[in-house]
Symmetry: C2
């Protein structure tokens, strides 16, 4: 299908795409502690040519939304997600200057300590795509330069991550199979952006049944060797259905009113 101009395009049904916000934890060179990083892809055509954007693409005809997000993630990073959840469907009229696109966005957590700024990611050995690079997820300069409305999308994904991690069961997905409680605390501190009391944090984690002490200790450190723990709860990377949120706790930002107008009956259709 070809359309002569933008006006005609606007009358066409909206296109459907799936994008993914992918988070990994990485030692930050500047800051002393670990921070959140995400892979971006450089746009090679208009609109926003040359700018960085979230990995994404059209929905395949025989692909579930989740599979599209996972395939998307694998193609960009070479990685399989440890966690994958639908974030939100963005469908504003002016998201793209060309044809209208409705994006169903997922957010994911991957392991791996290797993403380098502007370089290959955790699966770096596999790929050397100059149009894929990892950036600090909370870097305002990075966010400000994103294409489309991807800045808002990433900020919302960060918000969701913060509210999800508060309940638990998320941190271990950014870590490996075994981990120390201090590592879990590092994840929480990176995501929440504030320091946590080691003693109180330990008390809370010890209270959750899904984290189990092993009889091993992490050797090679400079100080007293910490005990290693294991996560015994659900480790499936992704839900096939709705996300069933768990324990957010934060204030809601302001909202705008919308003024729906009258519309002819919509319910005589073939649409689920």
């Amino acid at each position: 299908m070809d359309y002569a101009n933008v006006a005609e395009r606007r009358e066409q049904p909206p296109a459907l795409a799936v994008s993914t916000v992918i988070f990994a934890l990485r030692e930050d060179g500047n800051v002393g502690r670990k921070t959140l990083w995400l892979p971006l892809v450089r746009r090679t055509r208009e609109p926003f040519k040359g700018r960085w954007a979230l990995p994404g693409g059209p929905l395949g005809a025989r692909q579930s939304l989740q599979d599209a997000a996972a395939a998307n993630l694998l193609a960009t990073t070479g990685l399989v997600p440890q966690y994958l959840e639908q974030l939100y469907a963005f469908g504003g009229l002016d998201r793209s200057p060309s044809r209208r696109v409705v994006s169903i966005v997922y957010w994911a957590l991957v392991r791996g300590d290797g993403p380098a700024p502007g370089g290959a990611g955790p699966g770096g050995a596999l790929r050397e795509d100059p149009n894929v690079a990892w950036y600090r997820a909370e870097d305002p300069a990075v966010l400000a330069d994103l294409a489309f409305d991807h800045r808002q999308i990433v900020e919302y994904a960060l918000w969701r991550l913060r509210n999800k991690v508060e309940y638990g069961s998320i941190a271990h997905r950014l870590l490996g199979e075994r981990f120390t409680l201090a590592q879990v605390r590092e994840v929480y501190e990176a995501v929440l952006g504030r320091a946590l009391d080691p003693a109180n944090f330990r008390r809370q984690l010890r209270g959750t049944p899904d984290i189990e002490a092993t009889d091993e200790f992490l050797q090679g450190g400079k100080h007293r060797p910490p005990r290693l723990y294991r996560y015994t709860g659900d480790t499936t990377p992704a839900a096939t259905g709705p996300p069933l949120p768990q324990h957010p706790a934060q204030a809601a930002p302001p909202r705008q009113a919308s003024h729906p107008e009258h519309h002819p009956a919509l319910h005589e259709t073939d649409t689920p």
Copy 2:
């Protein structure tokens, strides 16, 4: 566009639709207390002809997702929502036996005490559509007969409502401008499905800054007249952006694993 058969249809890009789960509070004839009701529309064609389904329709080319949901709601019930939030995008491959449809589903709260079973809704004076009827949202028999995957959708909407109401700021949207604390408690009890201690409930509500006592009392009751309160927080019916969940607290149900397969690069596209 016409396609000769299902096989050809399956190769076409998925269609996009918007549906809405609309909740209202109503005095239940059978049970003594108020319960949740929702409007359904009868399907007048295949598939699922004659069955009840969620109100919904295709997304207009110049309509935001939220406006589509609100228009949808107005057309079905004659009402304007007191609350409207995106629920989830359902995109499974087998949701509809005919063409593949991705549904972006919203959930809404409306006021009104008048929906009658099988009859007109709260805006009943406006419409007498025999293909629209209100049913108890938690009635298993109703849920079991829904078209498509609408049963799962309604169950998820109920789950979300329960987790949202726990934080507060939702109950008043099902009530009027002024209300007694007992009425708020009725909402919570209807949504959560269990009785709450009046004294403790009062103590909690008194602690929230968004509920303010008026100097009026509800007269005409059979007993001591209760004080009327007013909600002073945000009363905008809907968010234009992401929902920013507030305070869920519940266990997550089991999940299935998904096995993403390799896929050619997806990031060289024009899709936001």
